[in-house]
Symmetry: C2
Subunit: 374 residues, 2 copies
């Protein structure tokens, strides 16, 4: 008998100590999660559990950010499936991260160790263990959630029956490391950052975090979509073509990007942003496994790959690379959209179709599928 959190309610679960890939220890880690739909089947065999992995600044509230694909009658049909999502280790939505309290009663701050995507997966494995669940029907996610999904398939193939990897690559590219490091640097250059120990000082690196988000957003959105929306339009009531440069006189797109920065500052912790972005820099499924090609070829989990044709951050050729090399490919789907990377959140019709196809294919690989899920 598996006991899970009440439907949709953010719930914290202690998972004990976690040793990071790089050799540090996080004692008494906590993972916060949400759940929709009833769990059916065996916790260590065939069941109806789907684990959804969120992106960098996302969270476990899948019903919010994937509202078009989660729910009765939708691709992730909660009448059929039990959908569960954890908040990532290192984040700031209830799971242990740099803004959490250290066992000594102070905030972790700069003492929080660097973590890899594998550490995030390890925390989730401990979390599922703590619930008494050792197997899931499917795991899926986009962007950093896609990186976790891929590592799940490689680290614990015996625990997941299928995987769907969206808008991500087998490892960080040099360009990604470059733009991600620039974001980290924008935060570290903010004097309020205070080496990562700004908690409780009354100052926070809001300007640095906003600058980081502004950069990130330019990698999340396709240039055609941004241009169709904003072009060279001035922000209403402002004149960016004045006699002198004046940063208060903006183009509409500047105002939009600043707004995205402000919105993130209101809801996200700069320390978590640094730790999670660093984990993306460290994303490399080939590490310690004989390289990318060997690692992908050895992947036994039936896996579907989804990409976006206009993605600047994780260009589509990276998903083609995954699909060419994965040992057990279910298929590849290409979302066609001017939106860029964020199309995996925005193009709900195409995504709904692709996820339905994935779940259909994933069930055809099971033997006793009809018994517990449909």
């Amino acid at each position: 008998m598996v006991t899970l959190a009440a439907e949709g309610i953010l719930t914290q679960q202690r998972i004990g100590a976690l040793q990071t890939e790089a050799g540090s220890v996080i004692p008494e880690a906590t993972i916060a999660y949400q759940r929709w739909g009833e769990f059916r089947g065996s916790p260590d065999g065939l069941n109806n559990l789907i684990i959804v992995e969120h992106a960098l600044t996302g969270d476990s509230d899948v019903a919010d950010w994937w509202c078009d694909v989660l729910g009765p009658g939708k691709a992730l049909d909660t009448d059929t499936w039990c959908v569960l999502s954890t908040n990532v280790l290192g984040g700031c939505q209830g799971s242990t991260g740099p803004s959490s309290t250290h066992p000594d009663g102070q905030v972790w701050g700069s003492r929080f160790p660097a973590i890899s995507v594998r550490d995030q997966v390890e925390a989730e494995r401990l979390f599922l263990d703590s619930l008494g669940i050792t197997r899931a029907h499917a795991i899926l996610g986009g962007s950093m959630g896609g990186a976790r999904t891929l590592e799940w398939a490689l680290m614990y193939p015996e625990r997941i029956d299928s995987a769907c990897v969206i808008a991500v690559s087998a490892r960080a590219s040099a360009w990604q490391i470059g733009i991600q490091s620039a974001q980290i640097s924008a935060i570290e250059r903010d004097p309020h950052w205070q080496g990562g120990d700004y908690y409780g000082t009354g100052q926070s690196p809001a300007a640095g975090l906003a600058a980081a988000r502004r950069l990130a957003h330019l990698t999340y959105r396709g240039e055609q979509e941004l241009d169709e929306r904003f072009g060279v339009s001035p922000q209403q009531g402002e004149n960016p073509l004045g006699t002198y440069r004046d940063r208060k006189q903006r183009f509409a797109v500047e105002s939009y990007l600043q707004y995205q920065g402000r919105k993130l500052v209101e809801r996200f912790d700069a320390g978590s942003y640094v730790i999670l972005t660093e984990s993306l820099n460290r994303h490399d499924i080939g590490r310690g496994r004989g390289g990318l090609i060997k690692a992908l070829a050895a992947c036994s989990v039936p896996t579907m790959v989804i990409g976006v044709d206009t993605d600047i951050l994780y260009p589509y050729h990276q998903q083609e690379h995954l699909s060419r090399n994965l040992g057990n490919l279910l298929g590849i789907a290409r979302i066609v959209s001017p939106v860029g990377h964020d199309a995996f959140l925005a193009e709900s019709r195409q995504l709904d179709n692709a996820l339905r196809r994935f779940l259909l294919l994933s069930q055809s690989t099971d033997t006793g599928v009809g018994d517990y899920s449909i």
Copy 2:
């Protein structure tokens, strides 16, 4: 009789006062330039003058940055052509800019007005007037140099016989404004910027300028080229996968980007970087001309367009847009390269071919071509 600077020698020329598009005045402006090859023909008719326009942080030393295409026997054959290049207004290589001395004896600093690409062209027109030259066989340039070339063709079609516009667009896209504004912001957030009046204070916004360049470089280089060179390699002797995040332990690509930042700081002024980047934000050939399509259709100068297939900053569809709409198109050439935007500097063989083709086509539109140039 036209008297020009000695071959290859940087020479300054006073051009008098310049009124900016936005309504400010720069009195006593100076333009610095270089020249290769003998001027032949008529200063107000057919002649062998080719004007080369440099990019954002480039300069008039075409023999340096385009050494593979400039010189005897090369595409810009200095036995045939007189090649002339000015340093852009607002820059820091001898032409008047924010680090220059104001008529009152102090540095311009924040008093330097915002300028547009049109103002840069206007300064060049005044410069040519001051030399007694009112016509040129061709004008060409890439990136910001391409923007000036395009504005030349629209502002003074009677003064140029042909144009070659490389790796640029008809106007700034929202994405460009976004990433360029982020660069300006990185400089303005540096406390040493001091509102643009850091000259003579003993402090300069080196960190901000380096951060800006680091971002810019990620738009100049294709992600495939960067990845082939650096991938996830650590910088030699450093370990970016350590137990704690440590900004001194870097991936190779971080070190490379920081090096690009440092190199720019050594040779470029932050005030000029802001002014010139702002001019790119204001680039819009449709402004005051009934929009882009009307402006391009009205362009009577025979114009060739060159683009790069992997350009992130000025994607190839923007050059296709130019070629579809220009009133007098000579042709379009596509440089195929993993390098991205900088391919117009790096892929010298392809560029040499394209420029030869341009010059051949440009001469076929003249009547008395053989007499003065070949």
